[in-house]
């Protein structure tokens, strides 16, 4: 017995998804993809692994540390297993779909594998579902994907979805406008990532009181979009950081237009997890759900010839999405015992019933039906509910 149990041990961060959860997850995934398709996002399906230098170049560089490698015995080259699908989509958009009209709307769903999970998401394998809108850096593009995703999550049954907007380029632009050296900038980055106010205070000697105050305000700029944008608008910023601030407020305005009731928060200094993003970015949350349901933002695709395309896209983490939903209800199913004059099982299946075939004679048919988790019993051409 002990031996059998030990062989069931899986590596950390992996799990077997059992009935009814596996079917439920697949069904929800299809619903989201279908929802995306009603906006014209067409599904593509890249491979699980690629050559290391392809997968981890461009956008992929940022996820290099999360990515499994293995040696390809055929080509004798290093392969990388995808840990995020967005870089693959960006690659396809700039190569095989380079001649398609822009903006290009693509969707995808698939498993990704990571070297390590984080403490909040220990999973090392999970399903991503997402969209990319390639070749558009307009506030309307961000508003489209954000409101579409919130709509999709709400239709699945997730309550009180909120979107947290950030602009990971604001702080770097502000630091650049102060002409700080690399060392100080990275200490600021570090402190802001942890929203560690003491970290900023300890740097105030190097920064001067004015800059330290501005950074403290950015650090604390977390909350409902309207009040945070009001706080940010009071900051004196140079031209470049001001452009970043303006682009955030333009996106908020565009979202308000398509989804006036959406709960929007802003975090002015969030950067972690947005390593390849180059503009307004966002995370999806739901009240009382630990961790985020998904995230996305603006980025630049890079074609082999060096040309870039502004894009925006998002990924939903299916494992968290499923945890945010109520458990699937047990679906009715019927039992069809052997030894009946006619076989009407298929007739009921055609009507949408799930019918379990009895395979041998049993004494107590109802007990057998219940043992097989059936709620109904088929006798002849009739179906009735078992108590």
């Amino acid at each position: 017995m002990t031996e059998n149990q030990a062989t069931a041990l899986l590596p950390p961060g992996t799990s077997d998804v059992l009935p009814p959860d596996a079917a439920f997850e697949a069904a929800q995934l299809e619903r989201i993809i279908k929802h995306f398709s009603t906006f014209g996002y067409e599904r593509i399906n890249p491979p699980l692994f690629e050559f290391e230098e392809t997968l981890l170049s461009g956008l992929g560089k940022a996820i290099s540390q999360d990515t499994f490698r293995l040696m390809d015995p055929l080509s004798q080259r290093m392969l990388a297993l995808r840990s995020d699908m967005t870089p693959q989509l960006a690659r396809i958009a700039t190569s095989r779909l380079a001649n398609q009209p822009r903006p290009l709307r693509l969707s995808y769903a698939g498993q990704v594998i990571r070297v390590r999970g984080s403490h909040a998401r220990p999973e090392r394998q999970f399903a991503q579902v997402g969209v990319e809108l390639i070749g558009a850096d307009l506030p309307n593009a961000d508003a489209e994907v954000i409101s579409m995703a919130v709509d999709g999550l709400t239709k699945l049954g997730i309550k009180e979805v909120s979107v947290d907007l950030t602009i990971p380029t604001l702080v770097p632009a502000y630091c650049a406008s102060l002409n700080l050296n690399k060392d100080t900038t990275s200490l600021i980055r570090d402190a802001l990532n942890k929203k560690d106010v003491a970290g900023i205070v300890s740097l105030s000697g190097r920064l001067g009181p004015e800059a330290a105050k501005t950074l403290s305000i950015m650090l604390n700029a977390v909350g409902p979009a309207n009040s945070i944008m009001a706080t940010l608008s009071n900051l004196q910023l140079d031209h470049v950081p001001d452009i970043e601030r303006e682009s955030l407020s333009a996106v908020i305005e565009a979202i308000r237009f398509v989804a006036p009731n959406l709960s929007l928060t802003v975090d002015a200094s969030e950067n972690r997890g947005f390593e390849y993003h180059s503009g307004v970015s966002y995370s999806f949350f739901a009240k009382n759900v630990r961790g985020e349901l998904g995230r996305g933002g603006r980025y630049q695709t890079r074609a082999p010839n060096g040309s870039e395309e502004p894009s925006t896209g998002l990924t939903l983490f299916m494992d968290t999405v499923i945890k945010a939903l109520p458990r699937p209800e047990i679906e009715p199913q019927a039992f069809h015992p052997v030894g009946q004059k006619t076989n009407d099982a298929n007739k009921f299946r055609d009507q949408g019933w799930r019918v379990i075939n009895g395979l041998s004679e049993v004494k107590d048919i109802e007990a057998e039906a219940r043992r097989m988790k059936c709620t109904h019993l088929i006798r002849g051409s009739k179906i009735y509910k078992i108590d």
């Binding site: 403490h119 929203k195 560690d196 977390v222 409902p224 949350f285 009240k287 009382n288």
Partner: protein
């Protein structure tokens, strides 16, 4: 009865609690009387504020409760925060209490003959293996840590290892055990910590408590 979605404030047991309670009260938060009863078996306490409960846990556990969202707000020293380095904890307020420092120490007779530049790996007894490993890795030294939960100062004398990394406030414990502070790693104070998701999904409540705590500091 408590509301199902009450916010939970995690406070550390022991020494720091005495220093933190005036700030908590200054923020207008008053726990139920059982909180002050050392014999109470209760672990979760209601407060005068509807929708806010307090839990009292070990200081290392405050960080863990907040990181996983089981508590939404907490008070923890930056020693604990640095040890775990949880990405989901924010520390927007320095409470300016619980002052001490985190230092490397060793036996007095070792210091004169030792050349830290020559180290490639060292063995260290500490409550903070994560932080210690990262600290020494930055200077190219592999720290092999022996995790202890207390009485760290005993380790060098009993031959467990020669160096320790521990909290120092006056230095008298080190001295009593024949140890000398070799290097300060960082200063320590208690911080108000906030869970990332909580701040983003309940910003108005969290920002309200942040304001109250800031007020409580003055």
């Amino acid at each position: 009865m408590r509301a199902r979605d009450s916010l939970v404030l995690a406070l550390p047991k022991g020494r720091i609690l005495k220093e933190v309670m005036p700030i908590v009260k200054g923020a207008g938060i008053e726990p139920e009387p059982a909180f002050y009863d050392p014999l109470a078996r209760q672990l979760r306490f209601s407060t005068n504020t509807v929708g806010l409960d307090i839990i009292r846990v070990r200081s290392f556990d405050v960080a863990t409760f907040v990181a996983f969202g089981a508590a939404h707000i907490g008070v923890a020293g930056n020693d604990v925060l640095m040890e775990f380095n949880y990405p989901d904890i924010y520390t927007p307020l320095d409470l300016d209490v619980g002052h001490c420092r985190l230092s490397v120490a060793g036996p007095r007779e070792m210091i004169d003959t030792d050349d830290p530049a020559a180290w490639s790996s060292i063995r260290i007894a500490t409550k903070y293996p994560g932080l210690t490993k990262r600290h020494f890795a930055l200077r190219g030294v592999q720290a092999e840590c022996i995790k202890l939960n207390g009485a760290i100062e005993l380790a060098p004398n009993l031959g467990l290892c020669r160096r320790i990394v521990d909290l120092v406030s006056t230095g008298s414990t080190l001295e009593a055990n024949g140890l000398i502070e070799i290097e300060k790693i960082c200063d320590i104070t208690s911080r108000l910590t906030i869970n990332r998701t909580a701040w983003k999904t309940r910003p108005t409540e969290i920002n309200g408590y942040l304001r109250d705590f800031r007020g409580g500091l003055k």
